[in-house]
Assembly symmetry: C2
Homo-oligomer: 405 residues x 2
């Protein structure tokens, strides 16, 4: 690929590159010298699983790998102890070191569904941050001013609104910047909500006599609702380790307009091909539902292969289309006292999530043959969860609900 073609390939899905000129120059240099660029991205292992929101960035790292460069995947095991406040309006509760290391292990497994293992360095930032110690932290913090930190939009808005900002939250962008220094990153990727932090890394490198890293940001992926950021805690996510059937069904429930955004950010299809699909839907030559099936199949195949995509499609057609299951319904987590159990008292569950107004009503309906679980009528009080099932779709008379296991 020529440098222009490389830039075109990399540009897809980026919100901003600071600066394009520097990126071009660094790509040219790498081409001349044969030195692969070090493309850094950091992840805080604050949740046990990655979801598709994370893969937007990981996919961009893979695109750099496709061009021969090196992905440096930083797991913020120290920064996770602070809790990244970026784009949030309250302090995150810090996690224990054990939780973090456990999550870090899962991340490592999950990330190689996308990244090329041979061109990836996985690093924990405790490696260099713990060495800093008391004096190093003081020194590090001298490289930023309070005013500079308060320029960051989320901080300034919290400050104006009188919401507390813990001092440790100011240390977060600095430790992240220190990662870039320690790793001599050529490029750092992050969400647009990370722009401030990424630019701080750029400046800190200059303070340490290094060349400034190029900063490239990706948009924040909307969750299944199409409005809020995809996030585990909001429940509007697709986890990379979810079963093929669940992934497939979740993709099928998004809106048609979100569908093209997912094509852009969650597949390797070129922008030209995506535009062709969009025009097809708009001029009626393609059915939006079929285009969405194609998207679902592509996304599932990334994590479960072609067989997973086929199985997801089959289940979806059978359960949703043949049984006339509504596309959206109320969702609930499994009530705590039943979670992880193999045998579930279905009458109690119906009552706990409010489908039945009382245990008596639940029993009456069970006896009346008016209850179905995952598409099959059910009459007994106890339901045994088959292995591999990730959710229970409950039908109670004419009411529906989805319970996540």
């Amino acid at each position: 690929m020529s440098i222009d073609q490389q830039l075109e390939y990399l540009r897809k899905g980026f919100a901003q590159v600071i600066t394009e000129g520097e990126l071009r120059a660094r790509l040219e240099e790498s081409h001349k010298t044969g030195r692969p660029l070090r493309v850094k991205a950091g992840f805080d292992p604050t949740a046990p699983d990655l979801h598709l929101g994370h893969t937007v960035l990981i996919r961009k790292m893979r695109h750099f790998q496709d061009l021969g460069h090196r992905a440096v995947f930083v797991i913020g095991d120290v920064t996770g102890l602070i809790g990244d406040p970026s784009g949030r309006n309250a302090a995150r509760p810090p996690m224990t070191r054990e939780q973090i290391l456990k999550n870090a292990e899962t991340y490592k497994e999950q990330v190689f569904t996308i990244l090329d293992k041979d061109k990836t360095e996985v690093r924990l930032n405790s490696e260099w941050l713990l060495e800093l110690g008391t004096l190093g932290m003081i020194q590090l913090s001298s490289h930023a001013t309070v005013a500079q930190m308060l320029e960051r939009e989320d901080f300034s808005s919290r400050y104006r609104q009188g919401k507390p900002i813990g001092l440790h939250e100011f240390l977060y962008p600095l430790t992240q910047a220190q990662d870039s220094v320690a790793l001599r990153a050529d490029i750092e990727l992050g969400g647009t909500d990370q722009t401030f932090n990424l630019l701080l890394g750029r400046e800190l490198q200059a303070t340490h006599g290094q060349r400034r890293q190029i900063v490239a940001t990706v948009p924040i992926l909307e969750g299944l609702d199409g409005v809020q950021k995809m996030s585990k805690s909001l429940g509007n996510y697709i986890g990379v380790s979810e079963p093929a059937e669940v992934m497939y069904r979740k993709v099928m429930q998004i809106s048609d307009s979100l569908m093209f955004r997912y094509y852009e950010l969650l597949t390797d299809l070129s922008m030209a091909e995506i535009l062709r699909l969009r025009h097809g839907v708009e001029n009626g030559s393609m059915h939006p539902m079929e285009v969405k099936h194609d998207l679902a199949a592509r996304i599932v195949a990334d994590f479960h292969g072609q067989a997973g995509a086929r199985s997801g499609r089959k289940t979806f057609r059978r359960v949703v289309q043949q049984k006339k299951v509504p596309e959206t319904m109320a969702e609930f987590p499994m009530p705590a006292e039943m979670r992880g159990k193999r045998h579930i008292r279905i009458d109690k569950l119906l009552r706990a999530i409010g489908l039945a107004r009382s245990g008596a009503e639940a029993n009456r309906m069970l006896r009346a043959n008016a209850v179905a679980v995952n598409g099959t009528k059910h009459r007994k009080m106890t339901y045994s969860v088959p292995s591999g099932v990730g959710e229970l779709i409950l039908k109670f008379g004419k009411k529906w609900a989805r319970v996540r296991l």
Copy 2:
């Protein structure tokens, strides 16, 4: 002494006690249990010598020792690396660890001219602060909010004025607060400009399940000019290791009103005795100059004994009063190129400080017998500095100047 008498004794020279009730209760408890109170004060070894401004606090520690308590003298060898921004409107340049340890040694020597060695613990805060490490610093910083820090007057005024505040400056009050936790201080003493930091220590102790320390502040001592804080960098100071003659002469140059403040903050005279002197001066029964000689003698005696006080008085009378040296005159540091030299080209010095307009004028005046050094006429180009001399008082025609060695 009764508890009331003890409180009276301690109260002299305090600007504020938070709270008097707690101080009384803690004194009573100590009286009952026989456990001496731990009275902490911290000093940043940012200058090689202590001056009388520091001794205001050290004297109050001695007063606690007089009542059987334990002085905990903390040398901020770590905090010195940050540079205390309290009451200043700009960041202090951080010092090297070597400079700090060297200054700490001098402090240790100088502090025992006032404190009782047997009832004193001298501690370096590196003992416990270095152990904190990266994670400990993050944890520590989570105990304060940005808004809380910006409430501190000097920070808020710098912030409003757009003057940079380094993030490391926010860490300073926290590390100082951590000192109180590590030392389990009962009482912390500090200048009024330290009130915020001292109160933070009080809160941090509560966070760690300790009883809150009592906070007692002393006023900031005005320098010889009677206006600005006594400080080495402003040159308006009396150093505790200055020669008796220099100390004596410097006290004699302060104003009559400042004299009574110095009596209060720099001597052990009771408030009743100080009032008696003040009335004596006001009603004309005492000569202010004699009262000032008494003050000078007391201050010098603290550091050089009675012999030093006598020698200071003798020199002062001989040089100043008999030779009609003006009480104030322009002061200069020794120009860098002559500093530390034993033989000085007096013509060059006269020109460097501007007493002579040219080398030719300096030479003409030397030949004309119109130049005197430290009260003695001088005709030669070269002046050999006698050992032990701390300053050169130059007379050039009718003009005077003082050059500090």
